[in-house]
Assembly symmetry: C2
Homo-oligomer: 402 residues x 2
Amino acid sequence: MTAPPHGAHPSGPGRGLPDTQQGMRRRNLARVMHTVRAEGPLSRATVASRIGLTRAAVSTLVDELIRAGLLEELGPERPGRVGRPGSALAVSGQGPAGIGAEIGVDHLAVCAVDLRGVVRARAVRHGTNRGRPPRPVLAELTALVGEVVAEAERSGLRPAGLAVAVPGLVGRDARTVVRAPNLGWHDTDLAPHLPDGMPLTVDNEANFGALAELWLGDGALHEFLHVSAEIGIGGAVVVEGRLLRGTHGFAGELGHVPVRPEGPPCACGGRGCLEQYAGEEAVLRAAGLAPGENGVEVLAERAAQGDKGVRRALRDAGIALGIALTGAVNLLDPEAVVLGGALAALAPWLVPSLERELAERTAGPACTVSVSRLGSEGPLLGAAHSVVRAVLDDPAALSGRA
Amino acid sequence: MTAPPHGAHPSGPGRGLPDTQQGMRRRNLARVMHTVRAEGPLSRATVASRIGLTRAAVSTLVDELIRAGLLEELGPERPGRVGRPGSALAVSGQGPAGIGAEIGVDHLAVCAVDLRGVVRARAVRHGTNRGRPPRPVLAELTALVGEVVAEAERSGLRPAGLAVAVPGLVGRDARTVVRAPNLGWHDTDLAPHLPDGMPLTVDNEANFGALAELWLGDGALHEFLHVSAEIGIGGAVVVEGRLLRGTHGFAGELGHVPVRPEGPPCACGGRGCLEQYAGEEAVLRAAGLAPGENGVEVLAERAAQGDKGVRRALRDAGIALGIALTGAVNLLDPEAVVLGGALAALAPWLVPSLERELAERTAGPACTVSVSRLGSEGPLLGAAHSVVRAVLDDPAALSGRA
């Protein structure tokens, strides 16, 4: 067998399928949705010129999307102009919604996002999940999902799918938590304990955080390494606008990159891993503080107050991050490293030493280090938006005419 | 701006173009070529069933490919069967050829490969290029290319392009050597000094080595890290059957991943980089040998003879490779690490300590370490095959009817 002819296969919908009229129609429906979403409201004629199809072809596609409730007509566009006014098209605010959920070590959260990207419903429950078995946690999450779905439905939305962010490694089946050490879960299939009746996707919180940055971030970045932290350190790699998943779905595990090969032993079996220097517990310990809930908030507060021990511990964590990121930047040559999740809150004290270390150790063009403005909201928003993106990427699958 | 709707764009030919009949035709031409190349000789009917198009549609495509000299008819297929025999199709052995070239530190090489993947002509010149300016080296290479092209043309082939492998970083323009420390070249545009009249692509030797492994290797691997060495250490990352290039084209730089952050200073400006432990000069030094030409051959020979100092030096280099690869495996989650280039010759003495280090430090599923059977031929073959692949991936571009 030779490798698949990657030059010849369309990616996304229709991938691996023959390049038929049907596949072309599906991809063009997606193009119309993305164009209106990105630039709308737009007339049919403008959409046609943007995507390089005839006005007639676009009208047929638009009619199908309106019937499916994915686009809506807003009425005449720019009525002052000469000629018959085109009716402006917009992505529907009453159509499908993405339901995102997050299982955090210290909280549960659920939200509903419409096709326009607006958060339309939201529910949160605070309290630790550390060491709790999956069943009661997932029962609580199911109740929160029920609340959010009910609220979304009251405002005219139809849930199109549920995506759940977890602080751990998820199998390529996108439903089994292989290992989530900070919850104490392993090899747990979440599907039987979550609402049925809508498509389910489970993924690592760092992956969803990176996707949120890709879709909602300031930077228009397409190639970056996203580094986040809750208790452990999460990483995710985006290449050419797509998440790098790896053979087992485990790519992006920055927390266990060796920083000092003879350093302290790590729970992973290695020694001197990044988490031993920049993980929450390690930083608390280096600052002379006891581990506990809300460790990041405590560190940020004390650092802001000028606590020398905390500032030193964060500076050293920045150095360790810089060493681990030097290797990652050499391997991936990204446009930027983005600090998200809890790391965003600690950035003022981590970034100077991190940037210095990276600049001293890398010969090539400088790699920007930036701080996500999504902060700890990233994974939840990324989860909800992943469902919305799936609708935009293959609207025909939802309208039942695939 | 939102990210491009990656679910909606075909990759390769037609990428970014509207999904038109024309783009579909080009992709289907590529599908026919790849199918016949991988499984041929095949009848039109078999091709049609493989790619899911009608017999009539495939016949039109095949006729175009025969007229362009890319496919040829071999005569009746399986004449014993009932019904009118179909004529078997094969990829042409007289059509376009890929010209591959390699600028090594110690040699120059050029070859011609036909669409069937057969090497049809070859020329090599031994002798060091270290410290020589680009102009005379490229004049010699041009002369070798001329010899190989003449020989290929005598056997009925038409050169479709020239691809040149260099031991250094190449810009995204695919013609400028940004930095090749072991030649002493930097910011050198190779195009003015190489034969014109055919499309030129310049790339890093590690990238071409990885592509050769992808296309010609034993393993049917689609996600791997390819590690090679000539004087420095080269790396290249293949994800989902495609080379990961990075923002500046520099992805895969394994040689400057920090192994011991307080280790010896490196020419790159960092400290304790992998090259300081596993590069050719470092290993020779650790074994008490002077640096010189053919260092790898000397090391392999002495290790085979049981030289304890050399074996110890190679074992320690394997440990350093294992530490650097632990980080890479954590980030990329590849199916395998493949040792190619000069490293293949040293594998018996490097691999045991490398594998042990990697196994002890990584918690996840084991990552296979394998040795390329292409060895030091990889970059040259990868270069020539990259031209052949470009023809297979978009035959219409060559037949002038794109």
